[in-house]
Amino acid sequence: MRHLRTTTGRAVTIAVAALSGALLTALLLPDRTPSDGFTAGRPEATGLPGEVLAAGQAEGSTTRQPPTTRRPDSPTAVPRLLTIPRLGLRMPVLARGVDDRGAMALPDSGSRVGWYRFGSRPLDRSGATVLAGHVDTRAEGAGPLAGLAALRVGDLIEVRAGRRAVTYATTSVTRVSKALIDLPAVFSRVGPARLHLVTCGGAYLPEDGGYQDNVVVVAQRLPSGS
């Protein structure tokens, strides 16, 4: 392996570039099926096009499960703690939705990370659990997520959900322009159970919306007990 590295460094660089390109392609292309299983492609739909349920006291209606529990593979435990041992990172997780501009709402503090509560949960059978937070804040300066770019493929990430510890292994760390990022892929609710950890990066242009890029960590969920 050492021999390979020294004599074919150029080839390795190209391979890395190609891999990076493939991962970016996965990020940037709307919902197509990439080679690394980053998304499962269309359809995004749950396969439950119509259901009926009783509304409150409504009698005589066919009663099924209400919408919030309609996915039988959705254990309700929500993420509450994010740890990345190699970075010494440990952040409480807060449930967040969307802000008044339709973007994902994030905790004000850079020492907290938000979980997109309309998306998948760590113990769901499928879909991306999305955790996102500020890389820095005006009040506090750089936060723990500033270290994300130093993550390497294979690094373990742990998310506590309820009483369970769910472990993920990093599969890619990508910086991508906010103008090009494929948000439906980042927030996908289908495909393999995985973690998407998102923050900001790149150039900071205060007059142009601040950070120009997002940093996206993709990590695959490992079987429980590993």
Binding site: E51, V135, A149
Partner: protein, 280 residues
């Protein structure tokens, strides 16, 4: 591109003619039809073009969506067991079912108490992140009503068989139905869980005169959208730090170009599908 779509629709129509109501595969050109029985007091069978569509159908029940080829359908509702030639309790001929549409056909009472069939096209367009879509359909033998959520009117002066719809923040609302312009509650209150990215359709049905007004609820999921972005930094302090990407900027660029190239290739081969085709 329009020609391609037309050709496909035409082919679908031809296929549809020969397939009639055979259980169809989930072809893109199929429509999805659910049937709601909202006539109190009678168990029925429903026929479409002479073929049994739903049998032993009890009031207050909604079928799962059925994939059917686009086309015109003659619908007939008879008392359970009376057969295709039985006396029609309700009949509607030439009901158009457009390709790809998501439709709910409701057997219900009109404002005067006479049984009728009303087909509604369900809106399966994308719903903004964080939002839920609420539709209310007045299918009851009752006068004009207002629908309130948390005591505030959401839809006003709704008359049979009209519907009204709005996208509102996801969550649980306490809904009730009052006589239009009054505080006189005729149905509810009932807690409605309006899930994000889901279309919740509420049917008010029954008869005010017979004091059996009820709600039936249908949900159609899978129309959720991603948030518009992740605004992950407010200070700029981290921008100065070595972020490990400094030397890989060209890779980002290369990846973007590759993606653009691939997107171009794929797009040129793709046949656009209507947004509602996402709801499968």
């Amino acid at each position: 591109m329009k020609n391609i779509i037309r050709t496909i629709v035409a082919a679908a129509a031809l296929t549809g003619a020969s397939l009639a109501l055979a259980p169809a595969a989930h072809a893109a050109q199929d429509a999805h039809v659910s049937v709601l029985h909202a006539v109190p007091g009678v168990t029925v069978d429903v026929y479409a073009n002479g073929n049994a569509l739903v049998t032993d159908f009890k009031p207050g029940t909604l079928t799962d969506p059925m994939a059917v080829p686009a086309g015109d359908y003659d619908l007939k509702v008879v008392a359970a067991g009376d057969g295709a030639d039985g006396k029609a309790l309700i009949e509607a001929n030439g009901v158009g079912v457009p390709a790809g549409a998501n439709i709910t056909v409701v057997a219900h009472l009109d404002a005067s108490g006479k049984p009728v069939l009303t087909p509604y096209v369900n809106d399966t367009s994308a719903i903004a992140a964080g939002q839920a879509r609420l539709t209310v359909r007045h299918d009851a033998a009752a006068p004009a009503v207002d629908v309130r959520a948390g005591g505030d009117p959401v839809f006003t002066d709704l008359v049979n068989p009209k519907e009204d719809s709005a996208d509102i923040p996801a969550g649980t609302v306490s809904a009730d139905v009052v006589l239009a312009g009054t505080d006189q509650v005729v149905i509810g209150p009932a807690d409605l869980q309006l899930a994000e990215g889901v279309h919740t359709i509420v049917y008010a049905w029954g008869s005010a005169a017979d004091d059996n007004l009820k709600l039936a609820v249908q949900t159609i999921s899978g129309m959720h959208s991603a948030p518009s972005g992740v605004p992950g930094g407010t200070g700029g302090q981290a921008a100065g730090e070595a972020d490990g990407f400094a030397s890989s900027g060209w890779m980002v660029l290369a990846g973007g170009l590759l993606a653009a190239l691939l997107a171009g290739l794929l797009t040129s081969r793709m046949i656009p599908r209507p947004a509602r085709s996402r709801n499968r």
